[in-house]
Symmetry: C2
Subunit: 320 residues, 2 copies
Amino acid sequence: MAVYTHVEPDDLAALVSRYDIGTVLSCKGIAEGVENSNFLLETTGGRFILTLYEKRVSEKDLPFFVDLLTHLADSGCPVPAMLRDREGAAIQRISGRAACVIQFLPGISLTHPTPAQCEAAGAALGAMHRALEGYGGTRENSMGHRHWRSVAQATGDLDQVLPDLQAIVDAELAHLDAHWPSGLPAHVIHADLFPDNVLMLGDRVTGLIDFYFAASDFRAYDLVITHASWAFSVDGRHCDPARAQALMRGYASEITLTAAEAAALPLLARGASLRFLLTRAHDWVHTPADALVTRKDPSPFLARLQRYSAADAAGLFAFA
Amino acid sequence: MAVYTHVEPDDLAALVSRYDIGTVLSCKGIAEGVENSNFLLETTGGRFILTLYEKRVSEKDLPFFVDLLTHLADSGCPVPAMLRDREGAAIQRISGRAACVIQFLPGISLTHPTPAQCEAAGAALGAMHRALEGYGGTRENSMGHRHWRSVAQATGDLDQVLPDLQAIVDAELAHLDAHWPSGLPAHVIHADLFPDNVLMLGDRVTGLIDFYFAASDFRAYDLVITHASWAFSVDGRHCDPARAQALMRGYASEITLTAAEAAALPLLARGASLRFLLTRAHDWVHTPADALVTRKDPSPFLARLQRYSAADAAGLFAFA
């Protein structure tokens, strides 16, 4: 959540001149996106986001993101597509970084979504999944199920993060390995559709953003990540039935889950909770306390893991 | 250079509804302003800056800034005036902070100004001084000459910052106290018109911003602060004659300095150099290494102090 890289005005003017978007009127670093440097760029031709890719987004993955967002935008999903310059190139270089000029989308991120907003988010997720059903791109989900054990190991002693966390994680990894489903409908998914990554105006979704975790996985796994991040109290202890049902209802307006998917939701949600618990625990241990990035508390995802492990967890996914 | 305070969408909508600027379209935290939280706010009525005042801008000073910027905007200076709501109030509250909705100005800050851009900056400074000649507002300059000794004392042992700095500062304070002029033309000045605080498009000044150090002092002291920050190499060792002359020429197109002012420039510039040397040294010692704010190196202002102390320093202010 910081601007890392400085852009010289002359370099910016040269970059902008590659596109048919006029000349620079203003360029301000914005506190958005954890891993990249982002600028709100205004030209005589409109407003854009200029993103410079820092270390965590690999340059070799950029063509995948460009193609994915082009496909989604062409399918009518409200995603920030990368602009192409007069020669058709979307990926540029500035200040020693790979960079893209990206469509600006209106809207603001919610912190306390209402049920109506959860329904809209669920519908937008479902519409995106429909657009991705026939999409040919693939990308290994480096944050997916088969990688969680190595994230846990790389974190070190988990008990330094939360009491008894090592035993809890070991048991959960064993359970998920034994029961993780196979053969569910899969394609590229967003994989991180938290409320921060959805722009809204009132009850209308105006933007799905930050696709840098997008990868190939079960679509139902994308749904439970959204469920875990939209329907719970901040501490992760309480799932709000009104928000959860609205999210599921919105999704169901676009996608009819198979019986196997519906049955797998609680287990997939345990996996999603473990994924964010582990990556937050890893960052907690490995991010210096003086880093510019705010460390996120892992414990709300331990609370979700426990809630999704309860005997009545299937009821959290009802949409009566 | 960070967003400190979160704004809830509902609170933002309520704030915006006090003005005749339509409804919120987007609101993004920007990395501008060291001491406040700043957001680029877009509504159906236009673009604005939303500033939330954090600890370093005292709430009791806000009416001074509102009045000053209103006066300058009314005088035709390109400054970001605070908007007034339907009841005439410019100062609001949101997220527990005093806040203002401020005019958005186009333009970008330069890092390597050309002589033509220095001339435009000098002329904009001069035009602002003309607009302030008859202005009735006053504010104690808490960063002015009479406060430097206490800044030095509050820093502690200056030799921990740079070798021999304590003796250099003690000698300089004695010299400045003995020779500091009196009776020069004075009014409210910007007092911090570094290139970061000037927005430009090409060679045209589109904005003079960040008035939170504005206070009553000699106008010639404002000029030397601008000289010190626009005409030197990054390390402070070299004054570029082309940029310095252009700056002085631009200023002279608006203001004719008195003989006493012209004679005092080298001494005032030593004072300006000491002011930034001391405040940077103070922040260097007192800012934790893990703070979000980047500490600025004091040594380029020691280099300027030495350059302005040389026998030929008067020549740095020529504008042949």
